[in-house]
Amino acid sequence: MKFTYCLLGVLICLVSCSSRHAVHVPPLTSLSEKINCGKIYPQGKWQFVHSLEFSLADGKKGSAIGVSVIDEPVIECALMTIEGFILFQARYDKELEIIRAVPPFDNREFAGGLISDLQLIFFKPPAEEIISGKLADGSRLCRYLEKNGQCADIVFLPDHGWEINQYGPDKSRRRTITARVQPESRQWRPPEYLELKADDFSGYTLKMTLLSAEKIAAAYRPSSSIFR
């Protein structure tokens, strides 16, 4: 069980560890035109299967397969070993329901952290106000501002990819998600690679390589699929 405990430690750090090198909300120049940042998100119901790699600054690593079925605001997810053994399975629909959790994954702190990360990856950040702007390096972005001072920036990168930076009420960065996507096409395509970094002492990094993506119609019938 050494691997699973290491994995759990890594993942719990995502929600509980304090900031290591504080990076703060960067200044932006407002743009009068609105940027369509919502285009990075999937519409409707999707199923994604990712190969996951976890690593800590001290070199500890782990691997797993992740399944995410999303239909905003509902998230169903499972974490399994490559041999197919389910380590963790949960459903979130306003309330968190843990369906299966093998020790040491059987705690709500881990489950809550995982759901928060999936929400940050797949759903638009909650916002009172959205500002379109430009950073000092010329990158265009949308800033999603919440009442409590939290915010999230969606930044478009020059290589067609994008980045989400999430900041806490103290304006220090908590998470960075970087996405590698195929050049723009008429149809929305999921990122082929995502990397989540936590700004805490763990130096936690989660690499997600897309194995398959399915757009799901009603009653779980796949209407189209994108297999890599």
Partner: protein, 200 residues
């Protein structure tokens, strides 16, 4: 003369009816004849939330008494090696196969280890499971221990019509989750080098 021919035909007919999977003794006896097996496998992970099962493919090589190479080729490369009581696992990271330090065996890896015992004909030797031999060359293993039963509720083995071989293994984790391993293109008792069980 006619009677002799009828007796011979009857003898062959009866020998066809009494298979290699009719008793634990017959299974053990056939197991001892297995020196090595190489086969492809297809793993299907079924889960209620999945629109389609997750399909993994690979090869496995077994050499008596207990050497095993369990290699996933897709979607993620990984190799589990067992030889002389030592187990190693390699996972692909950034395009390279890296050994997993401090390997801990998950329940599914335990099942993979059990496969080498099953191929040796030992189906009812594990004290952790109650084994039942059923019609249609099926063996059902049910965990005795509550802790194991929370991880695996049942294992179903389908034996091949070729003595000593398995057609499939289904591992049930619960009512909505199971993993099916199907074995294909099996080759029996071919020359198998030990290096396959120690080198990635």
């Amino acid at each position: 003369m006619k009677i002799k021919i009828v007796i011979i035909i009857l003898f062959f007919a009866l020998s066809l009816l009494t298979g290699w999977a009719d008793s634990w003794e017959a299974l053990k006896q056939n197991g001892t004849q297995i020196k090595s097996i190489k086969a492809d496998f297809v793993q299907e992970k079924h889960l209620k939330i999945l629109a389609r099962p997750i399909i993994s493919r690979g090869i496995f090589i077994f050499k008596a008494p207990d050497s095993l190479r369990w290699e996933y080729k897709s979607p993620v490369r990984s190799i589990l090696l067992m030889h002389n009581g030592k187990t190693k696992k390699f996972m692909e990271r950034d395009g390279k196969l890296i050994e997993e330090p401090g390997l801990s065996l998950e329940a599914m890896q335990m099942v993979i280890q059990e496969i080498s015992k099953w191929l040796a004909g030992n189906f009812n030797d594990n004290p952790g499971f109650t084994a039942g031999l059923e019609t249609g060359r099926r063996i059902i293993l049910v965990p005795k221990n509550q802790a194991m039963a929370r991880l695996i509720s049942k294992i179903e083995l389908k034996l091949s019509d070729r003595p000593g071989l398995l057609d499939s293994v289904i591992i049930y984790e619960g009512p909505d989750s199971f993993t099916r391993l199907t074995f294909l293109n099996a080759e029996l008792n071919r020359q198998t080098d030990d290096s396959l069980f120690v080198e990635k």
